[in-house]
Structure formats: C-alpha cells, structure tokens
C-alpha cells in the first residue's frame, strides 16, 4: 500500500502547505516571545495596575485551551468589537502568540526572580540605577536560564500551528485533509507523511533546544 508512486503524488501536494506552516510558526514565535517579555516584566513592575492587568491576561490564556481561544478570536472578536483582524492568518498567529506568550511570561518572570539576590545588591552597591541593574546585570543572567524552556515552547508552537487548518488556513494538515477526503484508502500514507513533515520541521528545533540547554549550563556552578 505504501507505493513509491503514491508518495510521489502526495508529497508535492503537501509541500504546498509548508509555506503557511512555517510563516505562521515564525510570526507566532516572534510575537509570542515579545508578549512573554512584555508580560513577564510587567508582572514584576511596581505599578499595581499593570501587574494585576497582566496577571489577568496570563491567567485567562493559561486557563483556557488554545483551540477555544483560536475559535473565539476567529468568530467572536469580529462580532463583539467589530474589529477585523485583517485575515485568518493573523487570527491564527495572534491566538498562538497570545497563548504561548502567557505561558512563556511565567518563565521570564521565574528566571528573573531566580537570579541570585546578591547580584542585584552588588549592582546597587556599584550605584547602578534600577534600569541599569536590570539591563546589565539581571537580564543577561536570566535570559540564559530561559533558553531551554524557550526551545521547548518553540516545538510546542510548531505543533500548535496545525490548529490553523481548522479556521481554513491552507497549511500542511489542510492539504492532507483534502487528499484524505478525495481518496479515503490513501488516508494512512497521507497522515503518516503529514506527521513526517512535522517531525522533519521539528528536528532542527529539537537540536536547537539541546544546544540551548548546554549553553545555559555552561560555566554555571551546580
């Protein structure tokens, strides 16, 4: 049943979707990390309004599931506020970015808090301002602690991009579904190939994560 000719037929059909999968991944990773840093730092701010507001955002997005958020952004936002997100592509990107941004903001916050207290005391002793302390002393040490988890979440985001096929974006899974519905007996090979596609995309991210783990361990006394 797994014939070379079937693969030759299915492979190029799936290749058409790789564009959307990769662009959604890159865009949602970019915005996800951006939201994570903004929200993570806001939760450490002295301003109570800012802190409560970002806390609210993080709990809402961590407490509900991504697929619900995606549908909500897709169906409800245009009705509720009359905002047109521009395209389905943006709805997908924003849903994934907001969801994973909320998760990763906890990592940003946790890493900054776990930088040894002596470091910020030393920076104070050197007469650094609050901003300088964060920028020059705390942040560089915190970022290396975040790296392995950021890598893991990148793989999670790749997996999450498959959901955008549900709101009609033409990604790998979308073309897989089309092939399956036109020829049901081909379903095993189609979905197996879709899985292999995702795995091949994930492989560099897996190695990147391992690399980041070794970077974050380097030179740290354990």
């Amino acid at each position: 049943m797994i014939t070379i000719s079937a693969i030759e037929e299915i492979f190029p059909a799936l290749m058409k979707g790789i564009n959307i999968t990769i662009t959604v991944l890159i865009a949602s990773a970019f915005f996800g990390y951006l939201f994570a840093f903004i929200a993570g730092l806001c939760r450490l701010s002295n301003n109570i309004v800012l802190r409560k507001f970002t806390g609210f955002y993080v709990e809402i997005f961590r407490g509900t599931s991504l697929i619900v958020q995606l549908f909500w952004l897709y169906y409800a936002i245009p009705i509720l506020f009359g905002i047109d997100l521009g395209s389905d592509w943006w709805a997908g990107v924003i849903a994934i970015a907001l969801n994973y941004g909320a998760y990763m903001s906890e990592i940003v916050r946790g890493s900054i808090l776990s930088v040894a207290k002596g470091q910020s005391e030393a920076a104070t002793a050197l007469n650094m301002s609050r901003f300088q302390r964060m920028r020059l002393v705390i942040f560089p040490q915190a970022v290396r602690m975040m790296l392995p988890e950021f890598g893991n979440y990148l793989i999670q985001m790749l997996k999450a991009t498959s959901l955008v096929s549900l709101i009609g974006l033409h990604d790998i899974l979308y073309y897989g579904d089309i092939l399956r519905s036109s020829n049901l007996s081909q379903a095993p090979i189609v979905y197996l190939l879709v899985l292999v596609f995702y795995f091949i995309l994930a492989l560099p991210l897996i190695f990147l994560t391992r690399k980041m783990e070794s970077i974050s361990k380097k030179g740290v006394a354990s």
Binding site: R62, V68, L80
Partner: protein, 236 residues
C-alpha cells in the same frame, strides 16, 4: 458590545453544559490511559538491548514533537484503512488512544525523572537483600520514585483537560462541539464559545491553585525528610 445577547447566553448555557460530562469523562479516561501507558515506555527503555532502547527513544521523540491533532486524525481516519490490523474506532476511543499515547510520552519522562531521583543506595540495598526484580520495583523503587512527581502529574491532568477539546474535530460531543453546533444552528458563535471559555477557566483555575498548594506541601515534606536525614547524620 451591542452584539452581545444575554438571551442567547442563557439559551445556550444549558445546551453547552450537556457536553461537560463527556469532556470531563474523556479527560479522566485519557489521563488514566496515559498514566498506565507511561510505564510501558519506561519498561521498554529499560530492556537491556541497546537498539531497542534507541528505537523507543526516537519513537517517543516522534510522538512528542508532532501535533496531537494529526495523530487524532491518523487514528480516527487512517487506522481503519490500514490493511490487516486496521479497525474502525469510535470517536471517543480514538481520542483516548490519540491523546493518551501523546501524553504518555510526557508522563513517561516524569516517571523517569522520579526514578532517577531515587538514591543509588536504595538500588544497592534491594540487590543486597536479594529482592527479585518485580518486588524491587513495587516495594522499593516506585514507592519512593512516584510521590515526588505527583504535583507534576497533576499539572499534566490540567494540560490534558485543555487539550481534550481537540477531540471535537473528530466528533466527540464535548462542550466545544456543543458550542460549535449551537453556533452553526443559530449562526451565533460569540455566546456559546464564551461559555466554553468560562467553563474551562472555572474548572482549570482552581485545579491549578490546588496543584500549586500540593506542590508546596510536597516540597516541604521532602525537604523535611532531607533535613531530618542530615540532622541524624550530625548526631551519630
């Protein structure tokens, strides 16, 4: 905000709520499956045959880094078409298998971290007392390896709960499915989807707080043990 209707909200609420039993039932079934299947991965990885360990490690990596949605579709649509071993599965069973196997690879990692945390002396003691393999695991290793991982396992229950709505795509009639069918019937998605979001929040937020408390309690308990051990060492 003029498009929000409380009438629709109140009308949709009982209908969406009908799916809650299925959603929670599916979560618990998937979780149980993953808890049991997690041990299978541990077992396969400890078989003293290197090529098998290597293959199992890569299979786990494959399952973990590909989307659960595609795995669900594979089991539901493709499995019946596989010659020889294929069979038609109900949406519920497909979801249990798909999500259960996906999360069992994560649960297996959690077990492994617990087992790695067991002191080397315990293994040596089991050997010194001439315990057979089965008894060594059930009496010595696992009772010490699993309790510290309970908060982590609890976290996975919440994560699982939030992944279960994926099953609505293959026709499991949980809350998301109810909301979507209400939406397509009356052409109003806003209220039913909001109800789904509220239900998730109401159920997962308190559970998360509970798990957090449990984690702190566990940490204290195991820290106390450590403290006790070191103080005993100081006295003798």
């Amino acid at each position: 905000m003029e498009n929000w209707s409380w009438d629709v909200f109140l009308d949709a609420f009982p209908i969406v709520l009908q799916g809650l039993g299925i959603t929670i039932g599916l979560t618990l079934t998937c979780y149980l499956f993953a808890l049991i299947f997690g041990f299978v991965w541990i077992f396969l990885r400890r078989v003293p045959f290197k090529p098998l360990n290597w293959i199992v490690t890569w299979i786990m990596e494959f399952i973990r880094s590909t989307p659960p949605l595609v795995q669900l579709f594979f089991i539901y649509y493709a499995w019946p078409m596989v010659p020889g071993i294929g069979m038609t599965l109900s949406p519920f069973t497909s979801a249990v298998l798909g999500l259960g196997i996906h999360f069992s690879t994560y649960i297996g990692e959690v077990y492994r971290s617990g087992i790695d945390g067991v002191d080397k002396g315990q293994w040596e003691a089991a050997r010194a007392l001439n315990y057979p393999t089965g008894k060594k695991w059930t009496k010595i290793i696992l009772p010490q390896a699993i309790p510290p991982t309970i908060p982590m396992l609890g976290n996975y229950l919440i994560i699982m709960f939030k992944e279960v709505p994926l099953a609505s795509t293959i026709g499991v009639v949980g809350i998301l499915h109810m909301a979507n069918s209400y939406g397509s019937q009356y052409w109003t998605y806003l209220e039913p989807l909001t109800i789904v979001a509220i239900l998730f929040l109401v159920l997962s937020y308190p559970s998360a707080i509970l798990i957090n408390k449990l984690e702190r309690k566990m940490n204290r308990r195991f820290d106390k043990k450590e403290a006790l051990k070191s103080s005993e060492g100081a006295i003798t």
